[in-house]
């Protein structure tokens, strides 16, 4: 404020309505001092300019704009003199130095209503939207500065503030990736239909080059264990071909980054299947593209992402470790928009069509192409570079492989109170290594044909239909029906036919077929009831029906495993978000009830979380709760043939229902620009399942349950985060110390380190903004993961004359791989013009660290040898993005 008062503001014309500058066309010759020119423009077009007079001193201009739009003209003129301007919400045009930092509060307060209030102790409600696209903004922090009154908008962008002292108050809104916005109440304003428009900080950057003060990529401090991300800012991070929300989350402490082979999130010692992934309300069961190098979510269709590293509300359930809630974009409701990206991995395009003021549609599609990066990853995973297939060499096989995904969402708002939206997602990976040999013609004549099929496919389809209604300022409901399917198939077979001596046609069909298919039909309804300004009651009910099938067959006829489990999980929850002690203490007790049909059991999950403001900057926070999981994923790692995974439902026999008793305690110290955050967690896990092929004969009738072993575990650790939130330089240092121990009777009495145990993990993320360039660098260090190595090996002659190699094994996970580390850099340049476009250059693993993925063992000449299989080395990438708006 001191700085502000030293500014001498010259204000021309008193009250001017905000108007669209691009509609004003300037044609005549403009000469004179800049100050005179601005005065003239203000007079002619009823504009208001604000500037520091000495800033414009001695600047003389002579320009002929040739019917240019005013904003465009001003921008180019001011730029010549290292100046810039931006338009304030009231329409005032503020001219400042090119690198000057401006706080929105400084000028907007001047516009607050000055007269006496007419109404007191009122409630105020409304909707928050994106100024450019008209999209509603969920989870926006809405508050009255200088008081403890505050709330956040719901998933549809609605908010209600209760107990607002007067109708002359200023209301502020903050949201990650957007400039803090203020709106001013006055006795004339209708208090139940406020419309707050927020401007994305990245858009301002391009349009008006305002300083980067409100551009956070990641926000970590709001609630216990909650992370928020701005998808729009993702592009400036280094990427391996594709901007990826899951890879970005892996840069935060508590989420392991040393797993290049899966996009799934290892959160605080949990495994990816312990993380609940919701996309517009439906559950996504597999998040991997291209063997896991990329996540299945297209950043262009995402509006908001929240990740709970633990301590999640009673509203969410069915998983032990974490929740990722993704809200898809609704689409621009003002203008038609189209855009896309091309990178060394994929093509990505989206289109936004406003069908009417109340009806918006967005579609986004992405497909990989066989670029050098794609091939590099493909070869590493499919083992194509390790020895070749003799049959393929002889007859020639062409490997075809791709992935694609598609997002579609249409949103209809039949009234101011209702929102109905339909969201659809479909994605698939296809890997075809089949051989169709061209046989010599005499064999063809013999009517002999043979085909070798080797096809692996997996994918997701999901859809949700949602109806939300704001019944009143205090009562809101959200009802949803959804469908989700995940499939994973493998066909490795030889088939063909020939004509035998008797002239009869004989068919050959040998091979293995695996089909895994998961169906999820869900319905749920959530209610929010603002009982008072310090109590918000939330409750709801849910129903999920799972139908999970896994079939493993040989020779097309004999089924080896044919498992199909179906079952419903249903229940409800209630929780109360309390604001106590003059809003210093936020306390949310809650309970969730589950009935699980397969076991016939009832499962209660009591939970609570709190945050306590010790001082304005210093907060204490914590949570405790119980979490159950009924459906789990089983992974059969198979490096050369691609990993196979399938989901199973717990049955309380060999596959118990998993549970997690979790405690989180933390503190954060936050200033305007900096955040220091520490959270410690302790999880006591039971009913864990491990899948082992140890006794998996590939013949005869198999008791499927023999593959599973159950055990318990403890995961604990501390996440540290030091973040520079805003400014030309921003970024963070994250550090996690943790340990995950399991105890499975089958491996002995003692505990052993879980395969995903990482002792130390450090992440350093730096971002720098220079003119229209964004630079970013990330460095990741993680202690080596545990592994089991052979003590020795031996060979046995079998009755059929074969000799099999066997490795005898040391204690489970008693050894450690070398530490994982890598350094990635990226530079993004934003082009200004009629369209918004940018070009990103990025280098993955700059110093070409050879990180070990796993070790391979073989017995050679009476000696057991190991070889390291490496992750990706130095990999450059380039991405070009363009969009109309």
């Amino acid at each position: 404020m001191k700085l502000f008062t030293t500014l001498l503001l010259l204000t021309l014309a008193l009250h001017v309505r905000s108007q669209d500058l691009s509609s004003i066309k300037i044609d005549e010759l403009i000469t004179g001092s800049l100050e005179e020119v601005l005065e003239r423009l203000a007079d002619e077009h009823q504009l208001t300019f604000e500037y520091q007079p000495n800033l414009l001193k001695d600047i003389q201009i002579a320009e002929r704009p040739h019917n240019r739009p005013l904003d465009n003209f001003l921008k180019s003129v001011l730029k010549k003199y290292k100046l810039k301007f931006y338009q304030k919400p009231d329409g005032t045009l503020h001219v400042i130095g090119q690198y000057e930092r401006v706080e929105t509060q400084r000028y907007t307060q001047a516009r607050a209503y000055q007269g006496p209030p007419k109404r007191r102790n009122i409630s105020v409600s409304g909707k928050v939207i994106d100024k450019l696209s008209g999209e509603t903004l969920p989870f926006v922090n809405v508050y009255i500065p200088g008081t403890t009154i505050g709330t956040s908008s719901n998933v549809d962008g609605y908010f209600t503030l209760l107990n607002v002292p007067t109708d002359t108050q200023t209301i502020a809104m903050s949201y990650i990736g957007y400039n803090t916005q203020q709106i001013y109440l006055s006795p004339e304003v209708q208090l139940d239909q406020l419309l707050a428009e927020m401007t994305p900080s990245s858009a301002l950057l391009e349009e008006v080059v305002i300083s980067a003060e409100r551009e956070e990529l990641m926000q970590a401090s709001r609630e216990v264990s909650l992370l928020k991300m701005t998808p729009a800012k993702l592009a400036s991070l280094p990427s391996l071909g594709e901007k990826d929300v899951f890879r970005a989350f892996q840069l935060m402490p508590g989420i392991s980054a040393a797993n290049e082979h899966t996009s799934g999130l290892y959160v605080r010692g949990g495994t990816p299947d312990q993380a609940l992934t919701l996309y517009d309300g439906f559950t996504v069961y597999n998040v991997d593209h291209l063997f896991g190098f990329f996540s299945a979510f297209n950043a262009n269709s995402i509006k908001d992402i929240q990740l709970y590293k633990g301590a999640f509300d009673a509203k969410y359930g069915g998983r032990l470790s974490s929740v990722i809630e993704i809200t898809g974009k609704e689409g621009n409701n003002r203008n038609f928009n189209i855009g896309g990206d091309i990178s060394l991995l994929s093509l990505n395009a989206f289109v936004e069509v406003p069908l009417s003021e109340r009806w918006t549609t967005i579609a986004a599609v992405r497909r990989s192409w066989k670029s050098p990066i794609y091939n590099e990853i493909f070869d590493r995973f499919s083992g194509e570079d390790e020895g070749s297939n003799p049959i393929a060499d002889r007859f020639g096989s062409s490997v075809s492989s791709y992935f694609y995904d598609l997002n579609f969402k249409t949103t209809w708002k039949p009234s101011d109170k209702d929102v109905i939206s339909l969201s659809f997602y479909n994605g698939k990976d296809d890997l075809d290594n089949s051989i169709r040999p061209e046989l010599p013609s005499f064999i063809e004549d013999q009517n002999f044909s043979i085909n070798i099929t080797d096809v692996t496919q997996w994918g997701n389809t999901g859809s949700s239909l949602k109806w939300s209604r704001r019944w009143s300022d205090r009562f809101y409901s959200n009802t949803l029906v959804s469908f989700s399917n995940y499939f994973s198939d493998r066909d490795r077979s030889v088939d063909g036919s020939f004509t035998d001596a008797d002239g009869e046609e004989q068919d050959i069909s040998r091979g293995t077929f695996e089909d895994s298919n998961l169906l999820d039909y869900s319905a749920k309804t959530d209610f929010e009831w603002k009982v008072s300004s310090n109590s918000q009651l939330e409750f709801g009910a849910f129903y999920t029906f799972n139908d999970i099938a896994y079939e493993y067959a040989q020779n097309d006829t004999s089924s080896i495993i044919d498992r199909r489990t179906k079952g419903a999980t249903l229940g409800g929850y209630v929780q109360n978000k309390l604001r106590l002690m003059g809003d210093r203490l936020h306390f949310t007790p809650g309970i969730r009830y589950n009935y699980f049909e397969e076991t016939g059991g009832t499962y209660w999950e009591p939970r609570f979380n709190f945050s306590f403001k010790m001082t304005e900057k210093w907060k204490l926070k914590g949570s405790a709760g119980r979490y159950y999981q009924f459906a789990k994923r089983v992974i059969r790692e198979d490096v050369l043939q691609g990993s196979r995974d399938f989901w199973v439902l717990a049955d309380d026999d060999r596959l118990p229902v998993s549970s997690n008793d979790q405690f989180v305690l933390g503190t954060s110290f936050e200033t305007r620009d900096w955040l220091f955050d520490v959270e410690a967690y302790h999880k006591k896990l039971s009913g864990l399942s491990e899948y082992s092929l140890r006794f998996s004969p590939s013949f005869g009738e198999i008791d499927y349950n023999e593959f599973f072993f159950d055990g318990t575990g403890v995961a604990r650790g501390i996440d540290f985060l030091l973040q520079k939130k805003y400014g030309r330089w921003s970024g963070w240092l994250g550090y996690t110390i943790g340990d995950v121990r399991n105890n499975f009777e089958v491996y002995g009495e003692d505990d052993f380190y879980a395969a995903n145990d990482v002792t130390h993990e450090i992440k350093l993320v730096g971002m720098y903004k220079w003119r229209n360039w964004d630079f970013a660098a990330t460095w990741i260090y993680a202690s080596g993961r545990p592994y089991t190595a052979p003590d020795g090996g031996y060979q046995l002659d079998l009755l059929n004359g074969n000799t099999n190699d066997y490795l005898s094994v040391s204690s489970k996970n008693s050894l450690r791989l070398p530490a994982y580390h890598r350094f990635d850099v990226a530079a993004t340049v934003h082009f200004q013009g009629n369209n918004t476009s940018s070009m990103s250059f990025s280098i993955f693993n700059l110093y070409n660290r050879e990180n070990t993925w796993y070790k391979n063992f073989e017995i050679v000449d009476g000696e057991v040898l190991s070889t390291d299989v490496k992750y990706l080395g130095f990999t450059p990438n380039i991405t070009y993005s363009i969009k109309l708006k």
Binding site: T667, R694, F695, G700, D750, G793, G801, N804
Partner: protein
């Protein structure tokens, strides 16, 4: 800031409570590897050796000499003699009988190594639909012969495995395959083996043979422990390495029984 430090220390102690014992390395490198197939109607021969060590060339996989293995059944014991280094046999004095349980025990490096198995019966009523398979290679293009159907009785739904061995010293490739692959000293060399299956029949097709001449078709009646071992998906990387199946206590490998029957099949062209 001091308070912050205290809280951090407090959190550290919160997260580090509850210590537990971690598994210590139980070295399995010194365990002996036994390979013993006891066939009904045959004397005992078994082989015992050391494991190949991991990433050292100090001592390669070597036979273990000087052991005193004892075969026991029905309260009777028989001490095996070392015939060649690491190979121990009974000679004709001990003939294995089917449906009888046998034990093995010996002492190695201070540990009592032992195992137990039940000898499966000789396959019953093993027969083939034809005793020869003729490849008509005179005509061009060649034609494919009908397969040989093998049958046996399997009332208990036990595991059976079919193996085909070449029974002549020198091999002559079937003309159909282009005349290559003739060789010498191939007697007893396995040509083909099926996976163990709980069945009572098998079809031997033209694709199962490579050479003309006399072949032995052997039907093995095998135990579940053998099946488990032979099919143990011997993983070879750190992602899912587990100790392979064994039925030897304080040792590795297999001590199992097998019942066999043989049929002779002629391949001509």
């Amino acid at each position: 800031m001091k308070k912050l430090l205290y809280i951090t220390i407090g959190l550290l102690s919160f997260a580090s409570c509850e210590k537990s014992d971690l598994s210590t390395d139980q070295n399995s490198a010194n365990l002996p590897v036994v390979e013993a197939y006891l066939a009904s109607g045959q004397p005992v021969t078994l082989h015992i050796e050391r494991q190949a060590p991991f990433e050292t060339t100090d001592s390669l996989a070597l036979p273990i000499e000087g052991l005193r293995p004892i075969i026991s059944w029905n309260d009777e014991d028989y001490l095996l003699e070392e015939t060649t280094p690491g190979t121990y046999g009974s000679g004709p004095n001990l003939i294995i009988q089917s449906d009888q349980s046998y034990g093995l025990s010996f002492e190695y490096e201070g540990l009592e190594v032992s195992a137990q198995t039940l000898i499966p019966s000789r396959p019953a009523a093993f027969r083939a639909s034809d005793s020869q398979l003729h490849f008509d290679t005179d005509n061009f293009p060649p034609s494919f012969p009908d397969p040989i159907q093998l049958d046996w009785e399997n009332p208990e739904n036990d595991y059976y495995q079919v193996g085909v061995q070449y029974a002549e010293r020198d091999t002559v490739a079937i003309d159909f395959f282009g005349g290559n692959g003739d060789g010498e000293d191939n007697e007893g060399r396995p040509q083909f083996a099926s996976n163990p299956q709980q069945s009572n029949s098998y079809e031997l097709g033209f694709q199962d043979f490579q050479y003309v001449g006399t072949h032995r078709v052997v039907l093995f009646h095998v135990t579940a422990e053998y099946v488990t071992l032979s099919q143990d998906a011997s993983s070879d990387n750190t992602q899912n390495l587990t100790t392979p199946y064994t039925n030897i206590s304080n040792g590795l490998g297999i001590f199992t029984g097998v019942g066999t029957d043989t049929i002779i099949v002629e391949i001509t062209n």
